[in-house]
């Protein structure tokens, strides 16, 4: 696995310097060597997670996290795994609640897809009632919500209470700036977990599938 580590290092450097060509080269070579699923799970996902951890520490900028996940997502048609989804997973969906700020959602979706997951995109400016109706209708197991404005983040409470009324086991994952500035907010609004960076989504979703919750 030394080779995989080496590829991960190269991919990380290429992504952080927004070098599309170099990133494509690493991913294409890896796919030919190890196959699509392994490339997504063992190369792309951990590399993006490392970049995201750098952002949390203040060492990497958001524009780099965005471009990195975008470049990886752009490679998906070329990787084209034979199984879809590439991972065992419950149905997942993501939305921007009430808010119209879409970057957070876009990044989470890019990261999850590049890491081998599939998810439905419910768009932005979605209201709590219609969000819950759609999630129930689609038999979603994990619902991800991104918000940028504080009042929208607080509206997650309404999503939680509607979900509780419906007595389904849908797990709720939240993220976005308000949750970073108030570390307890995700619990106050009744979420099952939060992610500090878009790249956290893989870890959080995996842990929820394993039955854990919390600020994972």
């Amino acid at each position: 696995m030394r080779e995989l580590e080496q590829s991960a290092r190269e991919l990380g450097e290429a992504l952080l310097s927004i070098n599309r060509l170099a990133a494509r080269e690493v991913i294409t070579t890896a796919t030919a060597k190890w196959g699509a699923v392994c490339t997504m799970e063992e190369l792309i996902a951990p590399t993006l997670e490392r970049i995201g951890a750098g952002w949390e520490r203040g060492e990497v900028a958001l524009s780099q996290v965005y471009m990195a996940s975008l470049i990886c997502e752009e490679m998906l048609p070329a990787i084209s795994p034979t199984e879809r989804p590439a991972r065992r997973q419950p149905k997942m969906a993501i939305a921007v609640l009430e808010d119209h700020h879409q970057l957070g959602k876009r990044m989470v979706a890019q990261v999850l897809r590049a890491g081998g997951f599939e998810l439905l995109d419910y768009g932005h400016g979605v209201r709590a009632d219609s969000l819950v109706d759609r999630a129930l209708g689609d038999d979603v197991g994990i619902l991800l919500i991104s918000t940028l404005m504080l009042p929208s983040a607080l509206r997650v409470k309404e999503v939680r209470s509607r979900l509780s009324d419906s007595k389904t086991g849908i797990r709720l994952v939240v993220g976005g700036a308000p949750f970073l500035f108030d570390a307890d907010l995700w619990q106050e609004v009744g979420a099952d977990a939060m992610g500090r960076c878009a790249t956290d989504a893989i870890r959080v979703v995996t842990a929820l599938m394993d039955g854990e919750g919390g600020r994972l």
Binding site: I18, G58, V60, A61, L62, S63, Q64, Y66, M67, L70, E98, D99, H100, H101, Q102, L103, R106, M149, L150, P151, S152, L154, P178, F181, D182, D184, L185, E188
Partner: protein
Amino acid sequence: MNCLERVLTTLGHKEPDRVPLFLLLTMHGARELGMSIREYFAAPANVVEGQMRMQARYGHDCLYTLTYAAVEVEAWGGEIVFRDDGPPNAGQPIIRRPEDIEKLEPPRVRDSSSLGRVLAITAGLKARAGDRIPIVGVALSPFSLPVIQMGFDKYIQLIYDRPELFARLMRMNEEFCVEWANAQLEAGATAIGYFDPVSSPTITPRELSRRTGLDIARRTISRIKGPVAMSMGSGRCLPVVDDVARMGAPIIAASALEDLAGTKTACQGRMTVLGNLNGIGMRRWTPAQAEAEVKKAIAGAGQGGGFILCDNHGEIPWQVPEGVLHAISDAVNEWGRYPLDWVGPS
């Protein structure tokens, strides 16, 4: 000392009678006047009245003319989306595709009714407060405005992938920003908050920011004919403190994500530090917590002046209760009196 004297003394890196406090309240005036947020912002007289009443109530040291950041894209033809429980936001972007930038024309400040309302607020406050209370205006930086002109994702891609269109947009935004900031100063603003979160290392890597946002800031700020406070909108500023100090901005806003005392030390008397109470956290503070947070900030950055206590973003959220604002103001009166004997040497 009146508010202006207090603030000028601290800007001169001397200790005034007490630590100056900026409560950057925008929407709370609507509650004060019993109106919806939309109704409140529709008439300059409301905001003037709201600001004067809040200043009288909390005794803080500035008046604030910010209605909402998106007022600037309104001037470029954008629409505004209001809500009852929070700040209005920009609606659909005015630049849908990067190529739209080729045909884009910047607005003239004097022709814009949305900016005209802010200028009327500024003049109204000046008429009421005279030279007693500083009036703080706001201009979004040329480098940060595009997030609401075109959407964040498209803008990041523009910076990396379309250098000519990016440069054209910056030229237009720079002229617009200078004209807008100077119009506010002419109308009576004492200082301009230059909001530039996209230049923060939280959003743009420092090396890239030095070639783009920070360089644009240096040029733009040198053309603004009054004191400027550089605010990265609660994004991190510590790694670029030296760059900002060289721009000639006398004030820098510190993020709650960073250590306030460390920021003060990094400024080395070159800039006054504004900050860094966590506005979002404030919503749930008890009076005792508010007092503890105020004490912590004053202990970290109060000694020797060069410090204004403020929230870390440039707007206190609508959800922050009046009781917390009172508790902050009381704590400044209790613990912010100079000399700060209870703190110990810095």
